[in-house]
């Protein structure tokens, strides 16, 4: 099986004492709030025109055979128009049943490690723990993942050019992913 190669440390680590580190923490915290509060139009503004947003599927492999992420198949594999259509479905119709009533998501983004690739271009690794509550049912859905992002900063502010969501599970214990990670 072809598996995805993941570069863990591209570029120069941005120190926690570097003001850019705090800018990136602020960015990811604000982004998390946008998604939990379902301010999705604002969130789309953070995505670049050429964004690739994807979450490869994972298989269990024996030790030494790699992490098991597919270099092809994903749960998500999106460009900007696809992300925009998902948001339009929630906004412009009253029939997006998987999110009506809406899920209540609560996400925790930690272990943020930015790496400087060039001027105003950063690879940012982070961990995400996402909890979802629907209706009056328990227990909560739990998803944990590592995210590998590519963020660029320009006059328009920060734009995400790439997000790879590396989910820990091979079989997701959720009925769908009707939200963003």
């Amino acid at each position: 099986m072809q598996t995805l190669e993941i570069d863990t440390a591209l570029g120069e680590r941005v120190s926690t004492r570097d003001p850019v580190y705090l800018d990136i923490i602020e960015l990811l915290d604000d982004e998390a709030a946008m998604l939990d509060d379902e301010r999705l139009e604002e969130w789309l503004e953070l995505m670049s025109e050429d964004v690739r947003y994807w979450a490869p599927v994972r298989v269990t492999l024996n030790r030494g055979q790699g992490l098991g992420y597919s270099d092809k198949m994903g749960h998500f594999d999106e460009n900007l128009p696809m992300l925009q259509l998902r948001v339009r479905r929630l906004r412009e119709t009253k029939t997006a049943w998987s999110e009506d009533p809406p899920s209540r998501t609560r996400r925790f983004v930690t272990n943020v490690r930015p790496f400087r690739l060039g001027d105003d271009s950063y690879r940012v690794a982070s961990n995400i723990l996402l909890l979802r509550s629907r209706g009056d049912r328990g227990p909560l859905d739990i998803l944990s993942a590592r995210r590998e992002d590519l963020w660029r900063r320009s006059g328009d502010g920060w734009k995400c050019a790439e997000r790879t969501i590396l989910l820990d599970q091979t079989t997701l214990m959720v009925q769908n992913l009707s939200f963003f990670l």
């Binding site: 092809k72 339009r88 049943w97 769908n176």
Partner: protein
Amino acid sequence: VARGEDGEVSVLLNVCRHRGMEVCRAESGNAAFFRCPYHYWTYGQDGRFIGLPVAKEQMQGDIIPKDELGLRRARVERYVGMIFATWDEQAPTLAEYMGDIKWYLDLMFDRTDEGFVVSGPPQRFLIPANWKCAGEQFAGDGYHTLGLHRSLLELGVLGGAVGMDSAPGMYGVDVSASGHGLRCIPQAETYQAFAGASVDGLSPIDKLRLVPPPGVTPDRVDQLARRFTPGQLRVLADFPPAAGGMFPNSGCINFYSPMPDGKLGVAMGWHSFVPRGPAGFELLNWVFVQRGTEADEELHRRSTIFGAGTTGVVEMDDAEAWPSMQRSARGAIGRRQTLKYQALLGDKKPDDWAGPGHVYGGFSKDDNQWNWWLRWLDFMTGKAW
């Protein structure tokens, strides 16, 4: 599932004959043999018993001979590259089991000499509902698109304008055979949209030249004429099978899927609904890409999972309905309420329809799903196969 050095595919029960630990604990990889970690009982790629350590102590005992201590093997057959297995030695052959539905499934998945490739490992996720919810829906519920997938009708992603009295995509031909079922969707609007022209008077193969089936490149259309009967070509040209399921627990799709960026994608793949207890099933979603269109593999993969599976804008709403049905079935009163399969059309074969099976032309009604349940009842009451 293991392919031996001789190329032969074996489907083995992943349970050691000794104490029952799983002998293979990775989903993918290469191995010369399967060795149980617990006590090192070792089996060949085809499951035969090879041996165990400290052979002189004969820890396999002398009650069952060595050549009967292999891993349990399933009966295996192939169809268009897919591997089907059964534990039942009394089961008929795969071709007999598929019966009349094969005539149509060939039109979906056996179109070209080169066949298709599977585009990476499947999505896997757990839906808190009984597997039959998905099984019976894929057998032929065209009607649910009207309600459950209404958001996509409203957005214009599926069909055209929608009102309470119109229902694009719900008219067509449902086909049912031995519990298997699928839906054939009229192509007149597709030709109008893609070719901008009326196709009246064109022969089936000329229509297929104008707009080849999803994933079939223009230079392969001649293969269709060679591979299929004239009756099959008429169905493929005018009412291609687009979605369905093989009884009991699979689903399949194959249709064009226009994407939000203006590209024309293909949604092609296979689902398995694997029971995980009475109130849960694992959905496995494989994406197929027709060989010869590898340049578009990424597009076809993306367009398939945009609609189907974990994040599919179509199927994420199915995953809202099935668990809800499951919760209703747990209610003290809710469980006593019967479900309604009362809109039975009865066989209604369109003129010139060459295909076998029960054929229901018109609005997609309950016949296919009811037949699915009757087939299930046969198995539950011992009238298997």
